[in-house]
């Protein structure tokens, strides 16, 4: 205790730090504070861990890991078959993987994005975050970063498994490494886009269950619409429009971009070929990510309930 003979009910030195709201006389923490950057880092790590159910009850671990299992199963089979039969090339390319397994990838973002943002909004606890030395953009960036890293991991992992299978089957190392790096790039591009879309929808649908359904509905319906539009355009002979209709579907958007930039075979039959089409794809991508980011930041200007 202090050397003062009498301990007053109210602290004798009211010149306390400015961030104190009520000082009821408890002992103060005078150590080093890590500050804003550390809070963002902690929130990001917590988001990433929570998405995979780490540090949460067992029933929260079930869904993410089932989906990870579904995502890992095809590459495992492909790798085993390649090793056992001594195939000379993989039956599926690294970027094609993202399109073929679009459904579990979309389900994963639909399951994770509401976890990342909806609960804080539903229980109205955002003011507690904001009462720390952290501003609202930090919160959005930390949540977004955590989700994007998780999305990257769940697609990069299976792609790496494919690479291991290919290398064990003694396929040309240089080609496989190039393909794998291209696949990782496509994964990162997809993760950035999907996380942004997922978070925006989740931030506007804080009720449990609805966010999941809204995200997956949006992604799948957009895909269905873009395919139907492409079919109609092809029937009408408008090839360019058939290609451009693919830009509204995140899966075909990233597939088309990856195919053109990395010079690999696209999974979709309507991949962009001309410079103009690629420019539109790039533009749509940038607009989608930037628009989703702007909407998210706007959503958090009033950090209360709904």
């Amino acid at each position: 205790m202090s050397s003062q003979p009498i301990v007053p009910a109210v602290p004798a030195q009211p010149a306390a730090a400015e961030d104190v709201i009520h000082d009821i006389g408890f002992r103060h923490y005078d150590g080093v504070r890590f500050g804003r950057g550390w809070i963002v880092r902690s929130l990001l790590v917590d988001t990433l861990r929570g998405i995979f159910g780490l540090g949460r009850p067992a029933r929260a671990k079930v869904m993410p890991w089932i989906l990870v299992g579904i995502l890992l199963a095809p590459p495992l089979v492909v790798a085993l078959v390649a090793v056992l039969t001594g195939a000379t090339s993989l039956p599926i390319t690294y970027t094609e993987y993202l399109s073929r397994l679009w459904l579990p990838i979309a389900l994963f973002v639909a399951g994770s994005a509401p976890y990342a943002v909806s609960r804080d909004l539903r229980y109205g606890v955002l003011p507690l975050y904001m009462s720390r030395p952290m501003v609202r953009t930090d919160y959005v960036w930390a949540r977004y970063g955590g989700l994007a890293i998780a999305m990257f991991l769940i697609t990069a992992g299976p792609q790496t498994l494919l690479l291991i299978g290919a290398l064990l089957a003694k396929m040309p190392v240089g080609d496989q490494l190039t393909g794998w790096l291209g696949g990782l790039l496509a994964s990162a591009v997809l993760a950035v886009l999907l996380s942004a879309i997922g978070l925006v929808i989740a931030a506007f649908t804080p009720r449990r269950g609805l966010g999941v359904a809204a995200i997956i509905t949006t992604l799948l319906v957009v895909q269905g619409i873009s395919e139907a539009l492409s079919r109609v355009a092809r029937l009408q002979g408008a090839t360019t429009w058939a290609v451009l209709a693919g830009a509204i579907d995140p899966s075909r958007l990233v597939d088309g971009l990856a195919a053109k930039i990395l010079d690999v075979t696209p999974a979709s039959q309507f991949a962009p070929t001309t410079g103009g089409e690629v420019a539109v794809f790039v533009l749509v991508y940038v607009v989608l990510v930037a628009g989703a980011g702007a909407l998210l930041l706007r959503r958090y200007r009033k950090a209360g309930r709904l």
């Binding site: 609960r119 449990r208 269950g209 079919r231 109609v232």
Partner: protein, 243 residues
């Protein structure tokens, strides 16, 4: 059936953001149907492709999921179901009232638009409309009942429902033949196939992996079974603490 419970359910289901999706999705489908008619000059094959793949395969399960998990799931999640359960109303009545609302909503917002989209996109004397209308009705009833039951049984109802409707029926059904026999979509398509002439059904791709008897029986078993399980679960419902 209890009119008050039904009224509350309707308000909960249609008074929120969920209702926005319930209106937008059928509108999008009808818009696409119009575009398909324009693009294919009212070709019945193109119409069957759009309705059979997109409407029945993707849209109907998603709509039923939105509706089925919207009638009782949110109340269980936020715990306000206890205020309903401790009223002197049998739990069977509560569940059946909510189920009735869900089924009616499915009929209005999913089944009728899907049948209409077949007529809009191109049809031969409303044969395709009738066939797909019947399939959508049967599948809609089954999906909605299953998803209502799932949302009473588990908090992960939405994701489990999606895994079943999309991964099991949509993706696995294409690779593993046996999976097709355990599919609401195939069961519902069986009577629809029966409704059409054999030549039309084959030409438009309205085909089912199971026979009519099997399809209808399985649908009845699934609907009654799901309803029974849901009532049983609601009778012994334990509210878990919020996560």
């Amino acid at each position: 059936m209890n009119p008050v419970v039904m009224q509350l359910t309707v308000r909960g289901l249609l008074g929120r953001r969920r209702s926005l999706l319930l209106v937008i999705l059928p509108a999008l489908l009808l818009g696409l149907a119009g575009l398909t008619r324009w693009g294919s000059h009212a070709d019945v094959g193109a119409s069957a492709g759009l309705v059979g793949n997109f409407a029945l395969g993707t849209l109907l399960p998603l709509m039923c999921l939105l509706i089925g998990t919207g009638v009782i799931g949110p109340e269980i999640d936020d715990g306000s179901i206890v205020y309903l359960l401790n009223k002197p109303v049998p739990r069977r009545t509560i569940l059946l009232s909510k189920l009735a609302v869900a089924l009616a909503t499915t009929l209005v917002f999913a089944v009728l638009p899907i049948a209409a989209s077949a007529a809009v996109a191109g049809d031969d004397h409303f044969k395709l409309t009738g066939a797909y209308g019947l399939a959508a009705l049967l599948a809609g009833i089954a999906y909605t009942t299953i998803f209502v039951a799932l949302s009473v049984l588990t908090r992960n109802a939405v994701i489990i429902g999606l895994l079943y409707a999309l991964l099991w029926e949509g993706v696995l059904g294409g690779y593993v033949p046996g999976v097709k026999d355990v599919s609401v979509r195939q069961w519902a398509l069986a009577p629809a196939e029966h409704l059409l002439d054999a030549a039309d059904a084959a030409g438009w791709g309205v085909t089912s992996a199971v026979s009519v008897t099997v399809g209808v029986t399985m649908l009845a078993v699934v609907v009654l079974g799901a309803g029974w399980i849901a009532i049983g679960k609601l009778k012994t419902l334990r509210l878990a603490a919020a996560e």
